[in-house]
């Protein structure tokens, strides 16, 4: 079974990530009985059908797709994937923060695509808590990527207070 990093450990994972292959349309895509992350277009087209299935709900956003379209349904999802088509495409960092900080999404946010050890620290800061590492990479080694820095300056999804507020709180304590 495939493995992912989730909450700082490596776990087996049975979610499928569905994509629209050549010739597929959101209407025609076959939906499996097992848990699956569906493309946003499929969710938008077949929302009611998906809600009616007993499986937990998952959707994934490509880097050019924002979280706005999911706002009304956000609490329904067990997993929301955010895609990094290339690891240098930074849009999904914003998407993840918006999911957490604006839409208060509490479920799993999973990084998909070109996910590598040297980016997952920033991903975690932005609220991503599961990482489907690129298949040819050593997932056990990559765990170290989550522990690079012990302190950070900015407020983000993992730390609501910027360092300048915490410094004062520490001094006052």
């Amino acid at each position: 079974m495939p493995r992912i990093i989730k909450n700082e450990s490596i776990v087996d994972d049975n979610w499928q990530v569905l994509t629209l292959a050549e010739g597929d349309t959101p209407e025609s895509l076959r939906l499996p009985a097992e848990p699956a992350l569906v493309p946003l277009a499929v969710w938008l087209t077949r929302r009611d059908e998906l809600i009616a299935t007993p499986a937990p709900l998952g959707v994934w956003l490509d880097s050019h797709e924002g979280p706005e379209a999911l706002a009304a349904d956000i609490a329904r999802f067990a997993v929301i994937g955010v895609n990094f088509p290339k690891f240098t495409d930074g849009r999904s960092y914003s998407t993840a923060r918006l999911l957490r900080e604006r839409y208060h999404y509490a479920g799993e946010i999973r990084a998909l695509g070109d996910v590598l050890q040297d980016q997952i620290f920033y991903m975690r800061r932005c609220g991503i808590d599961a990482y489907a590492l690129r298949a040819n990479k050593d997932i056990d080694k990559a765990l170290a990527g989550l522990r690079v820095f012990s302190e950070t300056y900015q407020a983000a999804a993992d730390q609501p207070q910027p360092l300048f507020r915490r410094r004062f709180a520490r001094e006052a304590a």
């Binding site: 960092y93 920033y122 300056y153 900015q154 207070q161 910027p162």
Partner: protein
């Protein structure tokens, strides 16, 4: 200046460890060339024409003497004993070994320095006025705001993979010495009627391939909102900036495409969620940082030192230096001094390890142990007593740091160009050298007076040629080096992008063309008119006509359409 606390230090130490591990994994074959690239770039490491180049961050140009001594040591031990100051007030080493770069970063961390985000598609080094804290026309010291921005931008998790690089500059004086409108975000500090400090915010400026001056997006942003508002701008840019074409990926292209009103509307919509959130900066934090920039213990001195006045009248060479390199200080009896790194025969902005040590000693002896790097690639000692100027001059002169040419034709901004840089289309240092040779007479230079001449070896415009009175741009045509000339650009409050005068020139023609442009100025200038004033009064045509007089450009007319494409792409 700002000193790290244990947290700042820990973050930088952890960065070194991270980079050391990345380099080890790369050398072990676990991290590919492509995977390493953005990581090394965000640690200042380029792979250049002859090998690696390391760009060391000098936040807003501030250096302590001990830090400059460390740079001298590093340049001697790991390089060839020369550093090069850049227009982002950073220092580049041109000959480090790839494998040794983690050690260099470790050395830097030992003096509270690093190479964080000096390259890559992220927020780069914040720049500001090199006379911060001592300029008479300053509203308040900009450096605390720069340091606040340094911390905010350092390892910002959301904005490490922007569509393209992102440059921010801060000005807090009546005269803009930081070219803020040539930046992705330019911040002009202002105080409103109630005494509140805030910023005029410009967005979407930049040089490069498509030079544009930043547009005003906010007339007054109270300082407490600085970070949340910048988060909003960066988020809009990160989400919607173009990523399909690196030449159209800067924020200026997004601002241009949407129009400033629509861009501002999107930023405001985003900011509505962020405003007054935890990233709002409390006064206590401004006070904490400002404390690091408390004025040095200036003495109470008479405004005019009599011994200094006597030397001015008795020593012409000293008087010339004072005229060009010594600047008014807000404190009576003090002056700011520019040490010129534009001596004849030296690449503009280059400084040897011995010169670094000499400057560090000068700073310790005469200027409270601190110095600044200017975006014009010189060094400033900001707090010199008037009565010490003569001695400072003598010492500086003995180290070839006292060329009296600041603000003159030979005080050129110049990128490393094709001699060193892999991006360059043409060499720029030989052009600077040829200009220096052609204009080697100081009296002639004084007669020409205030003028700016900047040289870039490619469209990336590191040499800021667009905002020079005379700009020189290296272009490649069929593997030949050609040089395009612009005139009429300027920095400052009236920042202007220069105009191309026509088809480009051979390298050997460039000094002659400059001379022709200067001749037109000298023949036409009115009383106390600078080059730029005359140019604005009589227009570009007389300059253009003289530049091409006797030069047959027909042979290259066809190639020029390619060049135009390159320029406007």
């Amino acid at each position: 200046m700002y000193r790290y606390d244990t947290t700042d230090q820990r973050i930088i130490d952890e960065r070194v460890a991270q980079y050391r591990d990345q380099m080890a994994r790369h050398l072990a074959g676990e991290l590919s060339v492509d995977e390493l690239r953005p990581l090394r770039l965000q640690n200042g490491l380029y792979i250049q024409r002859h090998g690696p180049m390391l760009r060391i961050a000098i936040p807003y140009g501030m250096l302590a003497a001990a830090q400059l001594r460390k740079l001298a040591e590093i340049s001697r031990r790991y390089d060839r004993g020369v550093g090069h100051f850049t227009t982002r007030q950073n220092m580049q080493l041109n000959w480090p070994q790839l494998e040794e770069t983690p050690d260099i970063l470790g050395e830097l961390a030992s003096v509270e320095m690093h190479a964080v985000q000096t390259s890559g598609n992220c927020v780069r080094n914040i720049t500001t006025d090199h006379f911060a804290g001592c300029a008479p026309d300053e509203i308040t010291d900009p450096r605390p705001y720069c340091e606040l921005l340094r911390q905010w931008s350092t390892f910002h998790p959301e904005f490490a993979y922007l569509p393209r690089k992102f440059k921010i500059a801060v000005n807090a004086a009546a005269d803009d010495r930081a070219v803020i409108r040539a930046h992705d975000i330019g911040l002009g500090l202002v105080i409103d009627d109630t005494g509140e400090i805030g910023f005029r915010v410009f967005v979407g400026g930049g040089l490069g391939r498509t030079p544009i001056l930043g547009k005003l997006i906010r007339e007054f942003l109270p300082r407490r909102h600085l970070l949340s508002y910048l988060d909003a701008i960066l988020r809009v840019y990160n989400r919607y900036g173009r990523r399909d074409n690196m030449y159209k990926a800067r924020i200026k292209i997004l601002v241009q495409a949407l129009g400033i009103e629509e861009f501002a509307r999107q930023v405001d919509a985003e900011w509505a969620y962020l405003q007054d959130g935890p990233t709002t900066v409390p006064d206590a934090e401004f006070a904490r940082i400002a404390h690091h920039f408390a004025p040095p213990p200036w003495e109470t001195l008479p405004a005019e030192d009599s011994a200094h006045a006597a030397r001015l009248s008795s020593d012409k060479a000293f008087a010339n230096w004072v005229k060009r390199c010594v600047h008014v200080h807000k404190t009576p009896g003090y002056a700011a001094v520019t040490l010129s790194l534009k001596a004849p025969g030296v690449a503009p902005g280059d400084i040897t390890d011995a010169q670094m040590l000499a400057v560090a000693d000068l700073a310790d002896r005469f200027s409270f142990g601190e110095l600044r790097v200017t975006h014009e690639q010189n060094v400033v000692l900001a707090d010199i007593r008037q009565r010490d100027l003569y001695e400072v001059w003598q010492i500086a002169r003995s180290h070839r740091l006292a060329t009296a040419n600041i603000g003159l034709l030979t005080d050129m901004i110049c990128c490393p160009g094709g001699d060193l840089c892999a991006l360059a289309n043409a060499r720029s240092i030989p052009i600077a050298d040829a200009v220096q040779q052609k204009f080697d007479d100081l009296d002639y230079l004084y007669d020409i007076g205030d003028i700016s001449l900047n040289i870039s070896g490619c469209m990336n415009s590191c040499g800021h040629h667009h905002v020079a009175n005379i700009g020189i741009l290296g272009v490649d045509k069929n593997n030949e080096e050609w040089y395009q000339i612009t005139v009429g650009g300027q920095q400052g409050n009236a920042a202007t992008i220069g105009k191309v005068i026509g088809p480009s020139f051979y390298a050997q023609e460039v000094p002659l063309v400059i001379e022709a442009l200067i001749d037109v100025y000298r023949e036409n200038r009115g009383d106390s008119e600078r080059f730029i004033d005359t140019l604005q009064r009589i227009g570009i045509e007389p300059f253009k006509a003289r530049a091409y007089a006797g030069r047959d450009r027909r042979r290259v007319a066809k190639v020029d359409s390619n060049e135009k494409e390159l320029v406007n792409a």
